[in-house]
């Protein structure tokens, strides 16, 4: 099946024909080509932005990991100091009436206790001063332990005779003499008191304010971190969708 005569004529005439497009068509095409070129470039820009976002996330994660170990130390320190100060004030309050009530003949027996306490006081103050910042109680305890076992022994021993003497002194004043039974009774009472104090201390140690504060701090930190990560995630997804839409 070949071409018909009129088809040959049609082909010849149509292939010779030229229709000039309207003016401004090239500008239109040129603008399209320019936009095509531009759309290729932003891919690099967006990839750069995405890379910086990822870098930012990494830096944030590093920054947020570091303070977790540091912040509780700073925050907890004052509470520790207050706690130790409270103990001291309690001890002083216990001692003060005793020292007031103790009469002159008994002063000789009280003096060593006071001396011991007076030894103890500068130690705690110097510890606080040497630390400069408020520090953990564990640190102060460590320092105490480092100062030597003698001091620790003194503080432990000082607790018993101090109270015993404080209790015994008024009775001794009344009677003038202390019997063995009275001494035993006083000792038993003193032991009871010490046990009660110890149990109270152990309770206070179990429900440690520091640990509670630490827990709260951790929770706050985590929630803040989560928020930051959420914001970064949103930003990243927005950037990604923008890139996809552009393409």
């Amino acid at each position: 099946m070949g071409q018909l005569k009129f088809e040959k004529d049609f082909s010849k005439k149509l292939n010779k024909r030229k229709i000039e497009p309207k003016a401004g068509r090239w500008e239109e095409l040129s603008a399209r080509l320019n936009s095509e070129e531009r759309s290729k470039k932003p891919i690099f820009w967006w990839s750069g932005i995405a890379a910086t976002l990822v870098g930012g996330i990494l830096i944030f994660s590093l920054l947020f990991n570091e303070p977790i170990s540091e912040i509780p130390l700073v925050v907890d320190a004052p509470s520790e100091v207050i706690f130790s100060e409270e103990i001291e004030s309690q001890q002083i309050s216990h001692e003060k009436p005793a020292s007031e009530e103790v009469q002159e003949p008994e002063k000789a027996s009280v003096k060593p206790v006071e001396n011991i306490f007076s030894k103890k006081e500068p130690v705690t103050n110097s510890q606080l001063a040497s630390v400069g910042k408020p520090q953990e109680s564990s640190k102060t305890e460590n320092n105490q332990a480092q100062k030597g076992p003698d001091l620790m022994k003194e503080t432990k021993i000082s607790g018993i005779p101090e109270e015993v003497i404080a209790e015994a002194s008024p009775k001794a004043n009344k009677t003038g003499e202390i019997t063995d039974a009275e001494v035993d009774a006083l000792l038993a009472e003193a032991v009871k008191k010490i046990n009660v104090d110890r149990s109270a201390r152990s309770v206070s140690e179990n429900i440690n304010a520091n640990s509670l504060l630490l827990d709260v701090e951790m929770e706050l930190e985590q929630s803040f971190r989560e928020k930051v990560f959420d914001v970064l995630k949103e930003g990243y997804f927005k950037a990604r969708t923008a890139v996809v839409n552009r393409n």
């Binding site: 004529d9 082909s11 024909r17 030229k18 497009p21 239109e28």
Partner: protein, 189 residues
């Protein structure tokens, strides 16, 4: 003597246009846009739409210019892109629909008539054909594609391509006859 520098120029222009040289691209556009709009106009009735199809075609030409291997003529390569663009335009307009038909019904002869009408009249007659007939007729009779190639490009059977051509010829002959065009002999499909 004059042809060689022209070819050299076109090769140089293509090389520059590949590197996104707008000047070179504009030169290529100016060289071929007239002919390519004429090609697009054969397939698309509306001139404005034909221009749109041509611009889309040129956009693809410059986008994929690096793929041109200088094996055939550059004009032929652009022309093929333009035809494909026109077909896709007609498809997007849902204007291109083919009814699958067997060739048996369309065995017949044609009066080998000769026309002496100008190009605008030819275009008018072609425009009067239904879309399917027109596309197959132009591809076969004007562009010189074979039925196999047409069937592949339009995703139709060879039989459908032949039947479309048969019907297009029949209609055109009728139209030419009414315009008092003299006929010579007969041709069998």
């Amino acid at each position: 003597m004059k042809v060689i520098p022209l070819i050299k120029n076109e090769t140089q222009l293509i090389a520059r246009a590949i590197k996104n040289n707008r000047g070179a691209q504009q030169c290529l556009y100016d060289l071929h846009s007239g002919k390519m709009l004429s090609v697009c106009r054969m397939y698309v009735k509306d001139l404005h739409h034909a221009e749109e199809a041509m611009l889309n075609g040129f956009f693809k030409v410059f986008k994929y210019l690096a793929d041109f291997k200088n094996e055939g003529s550059f004009e032929g390569w652009i022309r093929k892109i333009m035809i494909r663009e026109c077909i896709s335009f007609l498809r997007s307009e849902k204007a291109l629909e083919f009814k699958e038909e067997g060739l048996e019904e369309f065995n017949g002869s044609f009066n080998n008539i000769e026309s002496d009408i100008n190009v605008d009249e030819i275009q008018q007659i072609i425009d009067s054909l239904p879309e399917g007939y027109r596309v197959v007729f132009v591809m076969y009779a004007v562009e010189g594609y074979k039925h196999l190639e047409i069937s592949k490009m339009l995703n139709i059977n060879i039989g459908t391509s032949k039947s479309q051509l048969f019907k297009a010829r029949k209609m055109l002959q009728e139209k030419l006859r009414t315009q008092n065009i003299s006929g010579y002999g007969t041709v069998k499909i």
